[in-house]
């Protein structure tokens, strides 16, 4: 953790850093290995990080992306100086303030005030500055009388407020935030992000872990993508987020689509292969081939929830955006077509199809069905296989969405679910500059009246 050897302007320098954990089947093996006369190995090695190198300048903020277990938190803990790297060198200029987890270093038996005083002391804030600092934290956290209550009675939101307020009010040179801002309410989050922005403007270097690519794109100019403990990409946030999406939802042709070089050519190629693929796969679905086509696409969510009485079965499905079956991240403005292949095991006089778009939290943003839309689908017989196409133009804002689809029928004015598949399809929409929230509602603003001159 020394600042020696850092070029001026560089706040964090990480050079070829490796972190390896020894995994023992149990504590017994750890002891056995320590005492073994012939140094027999009882551990498995796990490389949490290998060969990681990058620099961050003062005033830059870097988002760290990667799947669960990619090594994000380990990297932050190394930079914070909590963990020690197995090899390599990490240099950080100035004071590091790390918010590694909710309630970082807080004792639940002490009050918020006592904890803030204690952590200021440990972080080395001079004694005469502490009381002023505690007042600032109290004002920022804004949790009223709870500040003088033991932290064990706090709600998780209050905890996050005090923890965040505490982390930013030590005048850090480097601020490390590991995925905790999700806890506070929207207003407090907004306050945190604007505070982060002002810290950045004052030259504080910020490292950020978040699973929300939107948050990273909004708050960071740079991003670092980790996969399996290695750096996949380090560069402008937008480009790295795109690679991250490829990694998460990557289609069969992922890879060369997103190369910035000669964009015209690559679009053409994509379109062509897209059309061919669409035709063959859609034809297969319509012709009733036995293959399960949805398995070829990454939008299928294996953690879907499925229920129904089993009289019908959604056996296969495809999604097309603007007629194309192969897509990664949507702009949100595409026309979506969902093809459902349904096998019926019973005669159904009037089958209904339903659909909905939901947020990752399960909130239905928009939904409808053939009954509400007054669409009458023809009678089906047991053993029939039908393919239905649902068409929608949702105009989605940036974020992650899930589609629910279902087949049902009405019986004495109530719904009977034949096969309902919640969160079946996962769609990822790129952040747009035009709107925020879930749905881009057509909206505008004009001057309605100009000021009159009273003079």
């Amino acid at each position: 953790m020394e600042a020696i050897g850092l070029t001026r302007g560089i706040a964090i320098s990480v050079r070829d850093v490796t972190k390896n954990y020894r995994l023992y089947p149990s504590h017994k093996e750890r002891l056995k290995e320590a005492l073994h006369p012939f140094r027999k190995r009882y551990h498995e090695e796990f490389w949490a990080l290998s060969g990681v190198s990058f620099d961050v300048c003062r005033g830059q903020s870097v988002g760290i992306l990667g799947r669960n277990g990619a090594g994000k938190s380990t990297l932050l803990q190394l930079i914070a100086g909590v963990l020690t790297s197995t090899s390599g060198k990490i240099s950080v200029a100035g004071r590091v303030s790390a918010l590694l987890e909710l309630g970082a270093g807080f004792n639940p038996d002490l009050t918020g005030r006592e904890n803030v005083v204690l952590s200021s002391t440990i972080l080395g804030v001079p004694e005469k500055e502490i009381s002023g600092r505690v007042d600032e934290v109290e004002a920022f956290a804004d949790i009223g009388v709870f500040f003088d209550q033991p932290m064990k009675v706090y709600s998780s939101g209050m905890f996050a407020r005090v923890a965040f307020a505490n982390a930013i009010h030590v005048n850090p040179d480097v601020l490390i935030v590991d995925e905790i801002l999700g806890v506070g309410d929207a207003k407090f989050q907004e306050k945190c992000y604007s505070k982060i922005k002002s810290l950045r403007d004052n030259g504080v270097c910020i490292l950020f872990v978040s699973h929300s690519t939107e948050v990273i794109q909004r708050n960071c100019e740079l991003a670092l993508l980790l996969e399996g403990g290695k750096v996949v990409q380090y560069g402008p946030a937008d480009a790295v987020v795109a690679t991250y999406h490829d990694l998460l939802y990557g289609s069969l042709q992922s890879g060369n689509q997103r190369q910035p070089a000669s964009p015209v050519e690559s679009t053409e190629v994509t379109q062509e292969t897209g059309n061919i693929a669409q035709e063959s796969e859609l034809r297969e679905l319509l012709d009733g081939g036995g293959k399960l086509l949805y398995r070829r696409f990454s939008y299928y969510n294996p953690y879907e929830r499925r229920f129904g009485n089993g009289d019908a079965e959604i056996v296969d499905f495809l999604v097309a955006a603007e007629g194309k079956l192969h897509f990664n991240v949507l702009t949100g403005y595409e026309t979506l077509t969902i093809y459902l292949k349904v096998r019926f095991h019973q005669d159904v006089e009037a089958p209904h199809i339903g659909w909905a778009i939901a947020s990752p939290e399960g909130v239905v943003i928009a939904g409808s069905n053939t009954v509400m839309k007054n669409i009458f689908l023809p009678l089906v017989r047991a053993g029939d296989i039908w393919v239905y196409a649902i068409k929608m133009e949702p105009k989605l804002c940036g974020g992650e969405y899930f589609l629910n689809v279902g087949v049902g029928r009405t019986h004495k004015e109530s719904w009977i679910f034949l096969d309902n598949r919640r969160s079946l399809i996962h769609l990822s929409v790129a952040t747009s500059e035009q709107s925020s929230g879930f749905i881009d509602v057509p909206s505008s603003c004009v001057v309605a009246s100009e000021p009159r001159n009273h003079a």
């Binding site: 953790m1 100086g81 909590v82 020690t84 790390a98 970082a104 270093g105 005083v117 440990i122």
Partner: protein, 267 residues
Amino acid sequence: MNSATNYLVSLYRGRRIIRALARREVVARYAGTLFRGAWEVVNPVVTVLVFWFVFSFAFKVRGPAGIPFILYFVTGFLPWMFFAEGLGRGTQGVVAHGFFIKKMVFQSELLPFVYLSAGAVTHGLLLILAFVVLLTNGVSFAWHWFQIIYYFITLCAILLGLQWLLSAVNVFNRDLGQGVSVVLNILFWATPIVWVVDGVVPDEYRWLVSVNPVYYVVEGYRGSLLYHEPIWNHWQQGLYVWGLALVLGVIGAMVFHRLKPHFADVL
């Protein structure tokens, strides 16, 4: 040598942290319970009373040279209690502060000082009680009483190295805590706290008693408070104990320094 100097400097710089954590430790011990920490004092007082009753009335044990057993026992038991508590709590120190070590850049090598300072508070309270008992039992005040400050510091020096060593190893092998309480139990009876050396231990085995550094401190407290005996009467023993403390301190600091980078991985 340079790194050793750095180590000492970092300890000195950490004195504010020690004070803050020790205060917290004291508050936690005294404020957590209904009777506002009365237990911290009540517990040893009751122990003293039980031992006094059993040994004085049931076993008819007498102190040397006609000193009442209660005085002989109290003056030996107080430093022992500080030692036993310091070792027991100190061994768990790093593990108990795991939430700091995992989440913050924290100088865990300061922890022994935290436990020593917090223990000193209880020790001070009990000493005041002991003074009352001494004065009401006909022992007169003498300047020798101030010598217990020296003996207390000696005891802290012994504990410091042991706490570094044990608290670091305890992170990797939690059985150690149990082992320490067994050893403390044996050591309690191996130290002349409730029994008198003269007439119990044959002369050829005396060295076995004096190997134990706690014996020096226990006898030192008694010498100062009861017999009004100056420190230099036992200078060879003192030299041995300080040498031992120094060796333990260096070994403890080295082991701690070596194991510290791995704490956050294991906690």
